[in-house]
Symmetry: C2
Subunit: 307 residues, 2 copies
Amino acid sequence: MSMVIVGSVAYDGVETPHGKVDHMLGGACTYIALSASFFTHPKIVAVVGDDFAQEDYDLLASRGIDLAGLERVPGKTFFWSGIYSEDMNDRETTATDLNVFADFNPKLPDSYKSAPYLFLGNIQPGLQHAVKAQMDETSLRLTGGDTMNYWIASFRDELLKTIAGWDFMLINDTEARMLSGETNLRKAARKIQEMGPRTLVIKRGEHGAILWHGETHFMVPGYLLDDVFDPTGAGDCFAGGFMGYLAGEGIAPGEGAPDRDILRRAVIYGSVMGSFCCERFGVERFRTLTRQEIDGRYQEFKDFTSF
Amino acid sequence: MSMVIVGSVAYDGVETPHGKVDHMLGGACTYIALSASFFTHPKIVAVVGDDFAQEDYDLLASRGIDLAGLERVPGKTFFWSGIYSEDMNDRETTATDLNVFADFNPKLPDSYKSAPYLFLGNIQPGLQHAVKAQMDETSLRLTGGDTMNYWIASFRDELLKTIAGWDFMLINDTEARMLSGETNLRKAARKIQEMGPRTLVIKRGEHGAILWHGETHFMVPGYLLDDVFDPTGAGDCFAGGFMGYLAGEGIAPGEGAPDRDILRRAVIYGSVMGSFCCERFGVERFRTLTRQEIDGRYQEFKDFTSF
């Protein structure tokens, strides 16, 4: 089933111990949509400048991504750049040029409004709320989203109002601690679930992820790669794999045990997509990735976690 | 089957965000033996001073630990103290008074020499080697051990000669990177396996552990506690649970798939024992812990990792 994704489409400059790329396709919405496209039909809502290259449109289109909501306006596309530390666990941002993204006011094409799945990428919480308000509530089956430290610190009230209407939330461990005010992840998760999202995924980078669903939790370790070329976008690819799998299966999980099993599989697909993302710079890995490779790695997760 | 453990028996002073204890029973050998005592019959080789308290002897004896190899000499028992950071991920050592441990030269009682299982705790690599040489090689079925940054940096040649004769090694991720010279854990593991130990467990603190056995690996996440009171000794309790389980079952794993499954279960028991250790200060949790609680938590690991 189709899935609307709102967020940033950007150009990135990235330096890691494995190399340096000055200008390449990036942005959370891009990564989420590319990842989800292996499972379902993503429809993106984003804005780019008139410098956005035809070959980048073509890549997104080649993956079956609906670009009706990709607005093109005069000016330059959002640009971000950063340098990763030797162990890749830290990065320093060297540029954040919002450009046309500064005035982003997402408007959904009519053809998007009856989509049953909605993923609200990391943008201003008020805009996330406004996007959900444009959807046809009777068709909408599952809403989830992401956020970041800046919104948690400076837009807290708006963020709390927004996530109160989400079915699930996907954030990293630092953000979970910040949002909840709790250092301990069990306690942090309980507090965030009380804020609205009954299902919560806490991403822990190389250390995997934890899913909370009702009273239960599920933990998956991070995939061990021989080489991490570029971790940019891995968390977004996790989100795309997670919700993309649910949308592809046409599932809106409730409280029961079968729903728990489905969500666990979605977390594994999220982990799989995040791991592939790191194997090449930027979105490169998604040019050649196949569903067979994805299912092969899913099986690897089973093999190295079961006892 | 019985299992010989060599290492430190000490007194510790520990401060964590949950409280402060100035003087309590500690030491790697103590934690390993207490943990292993829930699965098998540990025999310890260690040295204490004449300040070693009767109640501490009594605790060890009450767990069925053979104390024939616990030498008592004039002077003070090894003392260590440290302060943990707010998030417990760092600790600062405030005292390391070797005392009688400085001249520790482990001598095995004759009654120990035919034990089939040998765990060489973190002491000078030459001493580890000398302990193994005292064992009856024809009875010995499984030898493993631990080490630390100091020995890796300053006694490298001796350490390499020692671990060449081990079946398994249990170290943390920082030590694994230091020993192998590789940042990437897959590469680090391969190099360490080539040094001798066919089986390797890399402990990652709150992030769990990875087992390498031949060409395969197994990953387990760390147990999520509501409160970590004191992480001191958790890694040693992991070692005690891991080898204690193998010794209790009378298993010396080879290369096959059943051996792989047994080693995985041993890693889970190690994780279970490490998690219990953190629930109270020092060795307190082991005064009341039951095998039923241990098996209950083993089942929890199954529940929160299976998909």
